[in-house]
């Protein structure tokens, strides 16, 4: 865990993303889907923050809002103290140097009609690198960083394996030297044998280029390995937030406990306490009850009830309702 006492590099404040559902012309009962309801998150410089949760919990929508690909309904996102959404939003060109994304599916994330070279030179040219020698140097350099060879630049995406394509995707994300990398399930589409390589590559790059990571995942093994802090999301809200060791050793919210109990654990010898610890639920803090109380299928069209994040121990928050 790095020191996050200084100003966070990215600060998400009370983010809401709602989607209107239903055709305006033919249905009168328009409903609103609450994809993200009041997310507060801050990302420290050089930190890896993981957002975990089941499909549809709003983690990807949060990521898209940070990337500027989804207009939030309300709330604010600050980069180094300056708002990057709404009227204060920087241009697409300026935003490109703030954050870049690594996508889950290495087959859909590369344009099949562009060689690696043109995938990488396009953004560089756009951002003012036009001299051929400098372009060649930058491309060779970035390919070396992701452990690809310079001669790979002339090839098309279909000539690569999944792991190599993901390296190209990482190279493209890093080519403009962004400060933040958004990792959307970066290894879940890859062969198990390649996953470790990509994870180690990402960790090396984080150190070498002093990057900050936000990782979206439901692979808790990867999360445990890579993260400094973990945010657990459930139906548009953060239900538990804390350092990775606190989340994995001492999960408190019923949803987090359920999530962690799903990790297949072949070596119960090494973690003798994990299974038994998960069996008995800890009580909620004094004067509160957990929110949501039951883990089922909440109504995504309804406004969530009023609740708050209660600090259990320094830096470890859980979502509760006052009683």
């Amino acid at each position: 865990m790095k020191d996050t006492g200084a100003q966070p590099i990215l600060d998400i404040r009370d983010l809401h993303v709602h989607f209107p559902i239903g055709n305006q012309f033919f249905t009168r009962n328009k409903r609103t889907l609450h994809a993200v309801s009041g997310v507060n998150l801050s990302l420290g410089e050089g930190e890896c923050l993981s957002v975990v949760g089941e499909s549809g919990c709003g983690k990807s929508t949060t990521a898209l809002a940070v990337m500027g690909l989804q207009e939030p309904t309300s709330g604010d996102i600050l980069f180094e103290g300056n708002s990057i959404i709404g009227e204060a939003a920087p241009s697409r060109m300026d935003r490109a140097r703030i954050a870049q994304m690594v996508f889950q599916d290495p087959y859909a994330s590369l344009n099949p009609r562009q060689t690696v070279r043109s995938s990488l030179s396009g953004p560089l040219r756009l951002h003012g690198v036009t001299a051929k020698s400098e372009l060649d140097d930058r491309i060779a350099d970035i390919l070396k960083k992701v452990d690809l060879r310079p001669e790979h630049a002339a090839r098309f995406p279909h000539e690569f394996s999944g792991g190599q394509r993901q390296r190209i995707g990482i190279a493209r994300a890093l080519v403009l030297n962004p400060r933040i990398l958004m990792l959307d399930e970066p290894v879940s589409a890859l062969d198990v044998s390649v996953r470790a390589q990509i994870i180690n590559l990402l960790l090396d790059l984080q150190e070498e280029l002093s990057l900050s990571f936000i990782m979206i995942s439901h692979d808790l093994g990867v999360v445990e390995h890579m993260s400094d802090r973990v945010a657990v999301m459930y139906f548009g809200q953060i239900v538990e937030l804390g350092r990775w060791d606190a989340i994995f050793a001492n999960p408190t919210h019923p949803y987090t406990r359920k999530l962690i109990a799903t990790i297949p654990d072949p070596d119960t010898v090494l973690h003798p306490n994990r299974k038994s610890a998960l069996a008995k639920n800890p009580p909620p803090p004094q004067g509160y009850r957990f929110y949501p109380q039951s883990i089922g299928r909440p109504d995504v069209y309804a406004e969530p009830e009023k609740s708050e994040l209660v600090e259990l121990e320094p830096g470890h928050f859980i979502r509760c309702q006052a009683v």
Partner: protein
């Protein structure tokens, strides 16, 4: 590539034949298509001098068919280029931006599909008057709806691809994304629909010229050659048969080429060469 793509090769051969005929008309034709009229030679059947015979004014039908090919191909290709530009820019931008622009373009496309394009072209020709430029405009404005439909549906499926999102986060403007990320990934279907469109534009030009709204006599186009030959169909059938055959060969050639391209570019028909 498994199997022999007969459509592609036959269509390509016929298309190249017609294009070569048009390009090299001045070298191949032994007579001037307009000024070598000689009433002494009128309505001669095909022989060694006049390969396709002569028409009522005694002009060589073979030479006129060759020069007519220049008109037909110019009209076919240029009007299809206009159609493609309109259809692609409307279709891609409508699907990419969505909202009211998409509704508007969709409505316009449906209207265009509902009006028979030849009738619409007739109306435009009636306003602009006969001649090559107005023919290009009339046919270029009336046949873009299928291109637009295909561009729109391709864009809808492509814009969900991550590389389009990646381009946006890398700072690409919307128009640059359309030009560099979307357009290159739909060349296959667009190429197919365009070759089919050239065929139908050639037919439409013939129909408009036949009705007297296309190329004005005495300059040859396949359509006005048919008009002239109509009255002689019993006495000198060759004056009508050869321009008709030329239209047939050209339209068939482009349609076969379109079908062949579709087969060739269809990923399910393609096997990796490696």
């Amino acid at each position: 590539m498994r199997g022999f793509n007969l459509n592609l090769w036959l269509g390509g051969f016929l298309t190249v034949l017609v294009i070569a005929g048009a390009l090299f008309a001045p070298l191949i034709a032994s007579f001037d298509p307009v000024f070598d009229a000689n009433l002494m030679n009128s309505e001669l059947p095909p022989d060694a001098t006049f390969w396709f015979g002569t028409d009522a004014q005694g002009r060589d039908v073979f030479s006129r068919v060759l020069y007519g090919a220049q008109v037909s191909l110019t009209v076919g290709i240029v009007s299809q280029i206009i159609n493609s530009v309109i259809g692609l820019s409307l279709g891609i931008s409508a699907a990419y931006w969505g909202g009211w622009w998409d509704d508007l373009v969709n409505g316009l496309t449906n209207v265009m599909l509902a009006i028979p394009s030849l009738i619409f072209a007739l109306a435009i020709m009636a306003i602009l008057g006969p001649g090559l430029p107005s023919l290009l405009i009339a046919l270029g404005l009336t046949n873009w709806s299928w291109t637009c439909r295909i561009a729109r549906s391709s864009t809808l499926s492509l814009k969900a691809q991550n590389y389009v999102q990646a381009a946006q986060t890398l700072g690409y403007s919307d128009t640059r994304i359309m030009a560099t990320q979307l357009l290159p990934n739909m060349v296959g279907p667009i190429l197919v629909i365009s070759t089919l469109g050239i065929g139908s534009a050639v037919l439409a030009e013939a129909a408009l010229s036949f009705l007297g709204l296309g190329i004005s006599p005495p300059f040859p186009s396949w359509g006005n050659m048919l008009t002239d030959a109509r009255e002689l169909i019993v006495i000198a059938p060759w004056a009508a048969v050869f321009p008709g055959l030329a239209i047939f060969v050209t339209v068939l050639g482009f349609n076969l080429l379109g079908d062949g391209l579709r087969d060739m570019l269809d990923p399910h028909m393609r096997t990796r060469s490696e």
